[in-house]
């Protein structure tokens, strides 16, 4: 049963991330979409961290897990570095991790 909750959450989270990222990439080549979903997902994981088992499986593991992405975040940074956009890479790294940790902390405080 727990697996079903994770599958359901992930089935919503992954397309939601893709849709948000694709929409924001229409206006900019910078990875603001991935930045946004990672911060929102970190906050959501914090908020639902201490909730009931099913809610935790659905939102924290399933939805937030699939909604946020580490691989795209790392590739965006590395590709910016390769293209000598050092400022963009450094800003993405520090702001994403900084805001991500703060968002998760805020979520945990509200939980």
């Amino acid at each position: 049963m727990n697996t079903l909750y994770v599958i359901l959450g992930a089935a919503i989270g992954a397309p939601a991330r893709f849709a948000i990222d694709q929409y924001i990439r229409r206006f900019t080549r910078l990875p603001y979409g991935i930045f946004l979903v990672n911060i929102l997902g970190s906050f959501l994981l914090g908020v639902t961290f201490k909730s009931s088992e099913h809610m935790h499986d659905l939102f924290a593991i399933g939805f937030a897990g699939a909604f946020t992405t580490w691989s795209t975040f790392m590739l965006d940074i590395f590709l910016a570095y390769e293209l000598r956009r050092y400022k963009e890479a450094a800003l993405n790294l520090t702001l994403s991790l900084g805001f991500g940790i703060v968002a998760a902390w805020c979520g945990l405080q509200l939980a």
Binding site: R17, G65, T69, W70, A104
Partner: protein
Amino acid sequence: MIGVALASALLVLMERRGVTELRHLLLPGFCAGLTTFSAVTAQSLEPRDGGLVFLLQNLIFSVVIILIVLPLARKIIPVRR
């Protein structure tokens, strides 16, 4: 780490062979869904899970994997003429 490695290889494949539906399913779908940013940030706040050391480990290993896989994939997957 597996997701980062797969995503690096798929990125080169998409760069050089174009974007097909299957590759779209695999990169933004499977690889991005397999890896998770939120768990890394949340566990960075938990000292018993390693705290900021865990975050640093993730960063370093991810960069090392990209540094290995990306050039390797670029060498193995030629540009289609």
